[in-house]
Symmetry: C2
């Protein structure tokens, strides 16, 4: 599994607004070749913000790379620079490759 995780520091009090942005966004992911699963995850509160992480699982690095070059990617990120007042700094992208799995 190839997992792209984006970590967002959402200022305290903006959590509902942040979640609404994601709920009302059409990511088009389900039609993307090699897409496996997406989760928006709410994490711990600390230092005046709540940590959120978007997890997107892909069949391969190639599937992810092809998506970043697609029209679907551009459409999904059309509003990405908006709502800056919600965030405590820019999102941090971390990319992981599974080395062991159990399910």
């Amino acid at each position: 599994m190839y997992l792209t995780m984006n970590r967002f520091k959402v200022k305290a009090g903006h959590e509902a607004e942040f979640e609404e942005v994601w709920k009302t966004r059409d990511s088009h992911l389900k039609s993307v070749p090699g897409f496996v699963a997406f989760h928006l995850l709410k994490g711990p509160e600390r230092d005046g913000h709540t940590l959120y992480a978007s997890h997107t699982a892909w069949e391969s690095e190639q599937a992810f790379t092809a998506w970043t070059k697609s029209e679907a990617f551009r459409a999904a990120h059309a509003g990405a620079g908006a709502h800056k007042e919600m965030y405590d700094g820019p999102p941090e992208l971390e990319i992981f490759e599974s080395v062991q799995s159990l399910s």
Copy 2:
């Protein structure tokens, strides 16, 4: 989904040793009620270490909490604390609850 993520900073050069510890460990997770899936994920290299994350997905917070109080948990963590020379600091546990899913 309820996701517990432990983040490990593994010093450069110790990656194979770290992965071997996980491969040779019997976590007993598959027999734990409410367990969904486990992934050991290898992430980016930076500042002299490689970031790894263990992701364990649970049906609920209750399932995770029950596991932490079980004999299976004690058995799985019997060797935690060993191999300290591999790490750049202690692991960081972050707990997430899914607020949106797509698959």
